[in-house]
Symmetry: C2
């Protein structure tokens, strides 16, 4: 049985305009009252996921920067990775390509966010790979990460923290940066708006989108 | 008629556990669809109010640190005050009293948050006043501000930005840090959980609390 649910934020709890589903909030609160541990795993910066934790009332730790930083229940922030190499790479590439910093970097600690014109993507990806860095697009912004820094890493942190088996964990996500979670032997669910590879990897694909699927997903796995 | 609503967050949109009211979110979205401009004015740090703006879908600028910093619709952050003097004061006082820094200060830019034991409050307040600084408790945490740095200042910024008269503005709040808004000749409303002085200053006191009053307040002022 599921004891912990790890949920992506953008596109999984929010819509195309990034508006959070109020129904998703209510179902999360309901599942928590039944004793389910909930965590958020987002590409967002840690103060944003901290705000979501506080205002939604998330009872588990939350992760920002695709798993690179954790905000725990005791108020501590744990940085599992550094943004030193990612920031240096951005500095270098911004001098020769359209790769440029975004304002949320002031709140990033373990990765680097950026904007870039389409023409430079392949070159920058290749250069990043040479340096052991990873480039991907979350569906909302571009991210430069360290190797091994992903949501799968974060789910393993949760598994150890709560002494769980993989089959006691459900992950919910909608896009490519969720695949590292979906590749673990956990239960997997997604909204109707998910990418094809996420749907293919899912145990349950909801007929609802953008956060409105949370109730159906939770019902399917007996969390309500 | 009301064209803009400026709303406090903690205790006005949230409950005692800081959980945001999902009904408040829905009513804010409904009022915005009718063309009402909404702003949030909070003691919280700017990335937290930025998160609220994004996920609720606030159509106006939002203010953190009790009005000292604004996050505008174009993504710019405007610092109207500095945390240089407030940080220096905290450094000094932390050596001789229980006044101590809190973790959200890493995201503060125009003021300083702190914790303190009750026995030291009067002394620290007196010392702050000698240096032209202001100490107050928001109901959630202690704040050290610059003189003139308050939510009334923020409402005036909004008034000028949108070319409004005071009587086209409604403010909603629940506690003492909202009084600088309530002292302006704007319309004023509060939840049932508001402090006595806020209730006394209000044009409308709702019978509901902790965000659940937003629908009744908005109905009363014909915003829905
Ligand atoms: Ca997503
Ligand atoms: Ca909770
Ligand atoms: Ca308040
Ligand atoms: Ca407040
Ligand atoms: Ca909106």
């Amino acid at each position: 049985m599921i004891k912990l649910v790890a949920i992506d934020v953008d596109g999984t709890l929010t819509d195309k305009d990034r508006l959070i589903s109020t129904r998703a909030i209510e179902f999360i609160r309901k599942a928590e009252k039944k004793g389910i541990i909930v965590s958020l795993l987002s590409g967002n910066v840690i103060p944003v996921v901290y705000a979501l934790k506080v205002f939604i009332g998330i009872n588990g730790p939350v992760f920002g920067e695709n798993g690179g930083v954790m905000f725990d229940n005791d108020g501590s922030i744990t940085k599992f990775f550094s943004n030193e190499k990612t920031n240096s790479f951005l500095d270098e590439m911004s001098k020769k390509t359209s790769m440029r910093s975004i304002f949320t970097n002031k709140w990033r600690e373990a990765s680097t966010g950026f904007d870039i014109d389409g023409k430079d993507v392949d070159y920058v990806k290749a250069e990043a790979e040479k340096r052991g860095l990873v480039v991907f697009y979350s569906g909302y912004s571009w991210h430069l990460m360290n190797k091994g820094e992903d949501k799968g890493f974060a789910v393993k942190i949760l598994k150890e923290k709560y002494g769980l088996n993989y089959e006691e964990i459900l992950v919910v996500g909608d896009s490519n940066n969720d695949m590292p979670m979906f590749e673990l032997p956990v239960f997997k669910a997604c909204p109707a708006n998910a990418t094809d590879n996420v749907k293919k990897a899912s145990d349950f694909v909801s007929s609802y989108s953008y956060g409105e699927e949370i109730g159906e997903v939770f019902s399917h796995f007996n969390l309500l």
